[in-house]
Symmetry: C2
Subunit: 153 residues, 2 copies
Amino acid sequence: MIIREITADECRAVLERVNFGRLGCARDNQPYVVPIYFSYHAGYLYGFSTPGQKIEWMRSNPLVCLEVDEQTSHDRWVSVVVSGRFQELPDTPEFAAERTQAHAALHKRAAWWEYTSVPGAEWRRKAGPFASVFYRIHIDTVTGHRATPGASS
Amino acid sequence: MIIREITADECRAVLERVNFGRLGCARDNQPYVVPIYFSYHAGYLYGFSTPGQKIEWMRSNPLVCLEVDEQTSHDRWVSVVVSGRFQELPDTPEFAAERTQAHAALHKRAAWWEYTSVPGAEWRRKAGPFASVFYRIHIDTVTGHRATPGASS
C-alpha cells in the first residue's frame, strides 16, 4: 500500500463529492465526535441540526475538525481532515442570505433532513420546543491522504 | 425512521464487532479526528500507531472520543460514542502483559498492521527512527443510538 498526501484541490473534490463525515468538537479539552451530513460550498461546510450536545459545545468553543473518508478496500482509500470554525446562521435578516445558501446547498443532498432528529429526545427536552439550527464551518486548513495498492504493502 | 438509544451492552457488542472508527483528540480545545483500527477487550480499546500528530496530542491531553458506526441504509444504522482516556503502553517490563494483550487483541483483526504508516513521512521525520506505539483507551462512558425504518420517517 502506498500512501501519499493529496493537494488542497483534491481535498476539495472529496468534500464536494462526499456529503457525510465525522465532526469533532471539544469542551474543556474533552473531544466529542459525531457523524454529520454536510454540503461544501465556496470554502464553507454547511450543516443543519436540532439542538443538542454538539451545538451546545460548538457555541461555547467554535474550533472544530471534520474528517471525511471513502474506502473502496483496505488498501484503497482517501481521507480528508478539515480544521475550521463553527458559525451559527441564526434566523435573522442579517443572515438571510447565508441561510438561503445553506438551505440550497443542503437541499441538493438526498435525505439531509432525515438526520435532524439524531440528537435525541433528551436534548430536545432541555432545549425546549423544536428549533432547527443552521450552521456553517469556515475551513481554516485542509489536509488529505490517499492510499493505493502498491509494492510497499 | 425511528431512532432509539441502545443499552451499554448493545454498545459493547458494536465495539466488539466493528474494529474501525474515528478517534477524536484535542489540544488547546482544537479537536482533531482521524480514522483508526482498534480492538475492544474487557473495557479497553486497543490501538497501534506510528508516532504522529494524534499520538503527540494524546500524550499531552489523554481525553479522547471514539465514534463507531455501521450503516446499512440511510434509515438503518447504529452509532456508538465512547468518551475515554488514552494510556500509552511503552515497551518496558511494567507494561509487558498489557502489550501482549494489545498485540493479541489486534492480531485477531485482519490488516490492523497495514494502517500503521498512515501518519505520514513528515511526522516520522520529526519523531526520528520508526517506533511503533501501542496504546489503549479506558472507556469512561459509552452511549449509542440505533435507527430503524419506521412510521416517523
